[in-house]
Subunit: 293 residues, 2 copies
């Protein structure tokens, strides 16, 4: 099958590598914005062919592909959805991190049966760019699938099989629940991680001793908690812009619970509070991460 | 040299293994509280000898050891410091995560020259217990050294060499600065990580879909940010109890900066704010972690 991956950043390029690695019979064409990405992608053997976006659009060759996958920040994904010609016959999906804007755009475009089934493969890295692509990025991870109105059964089946073919698990979640869940499990944690490094870096005592030390002052906990801070600012900006309400809601919820902890520290009246809180946290983590003990 | 490691949890047991791995000529005795730890430690070959605490104390054999290292939660470390007989001639240190209480206890005990030099090897794990001990836990990490009043030159030199012998970097930081720095780089992040998992696990939409999914709904970012949540509740309880003021101070600072982000989301008036914020976060992380780009 002939597949176009529109955007060859970390996510798109890793998908191209995963299709090959898993022996999925496919001819993959990457579509990129810059000549340097084209050159780099070809020299790394990321895809069978790589086209500049202008080549692809000028030649109007959408129907050369049985499947087109948008692997772009959410705002750009919406722009490309609007560009799809009405004559296009193939399947469409995306890898967007928020869903309400994408589903709204798809539903505005297609008032009757169509072949666009939205996807969110839940994997990533603190690195961005095709140079960091990994064939096993998606291995055994979860792909959330979100149906727009009027999506065809044949496309839901086709796109679901695509993710299974690279060894992903799938689950169907509507756009609003997706964006709500992701605000808790990804988007707001990303903001909190970014805040963490800024808060620490702005402290003058930390600055003084960081500069005096030949190695970082941090242990592994801080390193882990800050790993995602600052990764791909364009992608994350688009995520915030397209999920502001749920992010604000979850951030206010976090702040409310933080205030309760501040009060507990200030009151200092319950000697067993913190030990119990950490025991409870372990249970919460095991629950969320489905760890059996 | 004959060394006693008082407490064979993850930290103490890893130190015992690191001394062997690095060929430091030493005979290491572990001191443990329970018969089951003694049995487990012996069968895993953690130390040359393992004594029950009661055996060690009943026989009053402190002077059998050239060096005694307390590897216990901070509150218990302070208890043991008070127990050291005045006849003990050897060197003393600890591996405590907060310093003001320990230094205060040492300074109350010793009104003149003594051989207690406090240490904080900055390494750890989400696991606890000697079964998770690793010989390379401390490899190339930082050990913060904190001098009490009246500490002898010979002991500062001896203890510093000890950490160098297992390939650690060292830096000297006074107790108050240590506890301030660690509140930012370890203690408060630990609370924030614990809060993160509880906040997510208490959300009913997350609960519904977590229960419906065969695999976790989280990506790698959440997993990393929550890794330390719930690790060793006793150790972390003792850390909070002995560093409440700096932790409260840093938590209030974090909350203040969080409030600014909430306001930015609510106002929604600066379209470039988030992209700039994420770019800034990357710089902050690189600064704290001493990453060259």
């Amino acid at each position: 099958m002939k597949i176009a991956i529109y955007g060859l950043g970390l996510m798109g390029a890793s998908l191209a590598l995963a299709l090959k690695k898993n022996g999925v019979p496919s001819e993959v064409t990457g579509i990129v914005r810059s000549a340097s990405s084209k050159k780099e992608g070809m020299s790394l053997g990321i895809a069978d062919n790589i086209l500049l976006e202008e080549e692809f659009l000028d030649k109007d060759i959408w129907n050369n592909f049985e499947l087109i996958i948008f692997s772009l920040p959410v705002n750009l994904t919406c722009d490309k959805i609007r560009l799809v010609p009405s004559s296009y016959q193939g399947f469409l999906t995306d890898m967007g991190s928020t869903k309400m804007e994408i589903i709204k755009t798809v539903e505005e475009k297609y008032p009757s049966t169509h072949h666009y089934y939205s996807s969110h493969p839940m994997a990533g890295s603190e690195h961005s760019g095709l140079i960091h692509a990994k064939a096993d990025l998606y291995e055994k991870r979860l792909c959330i699938l979100t149906p727009p109105k009027f999506v065809s059964d044949v496309s839901t089946e086709y796109i679901t099989k695509l993710w299974h073919s690279i060894n992903m698990h799938t689950i169907v979640i509507d756009a609003s629940s997706h964006d709500n869940i992701l605000s808790y499990l990804s988007h707001t944690p990303h903001i909190l991680s970014s805040l963490l490094v800024n808060w620490a870096a702005e402290n003058s005592v930390i600055q003084k001793h960081t500069e005096a030390s030949s190695v970082p002052l941090t242990g592994g906990g801080f390193r882990d908690m800050s790993r995602i801070a600052g990764s791909n600012p364009d992608m994350w900006d688009a995520i915030i812009q397209t999920n502001k309400e749920y992010i604000l809601n979850s951030l206010l919820d976090y702040r409310g619970k933080l205030d309760q902890l501040v009060t507990k520290l200030q009151e200092n009246s319950d000697p067993s509070f913190w030990k119990d809180y950490f025991i409870y946290s372990k249970k919460s983590r095991d629950y969320i991460l489905k760890v059996d003990n």
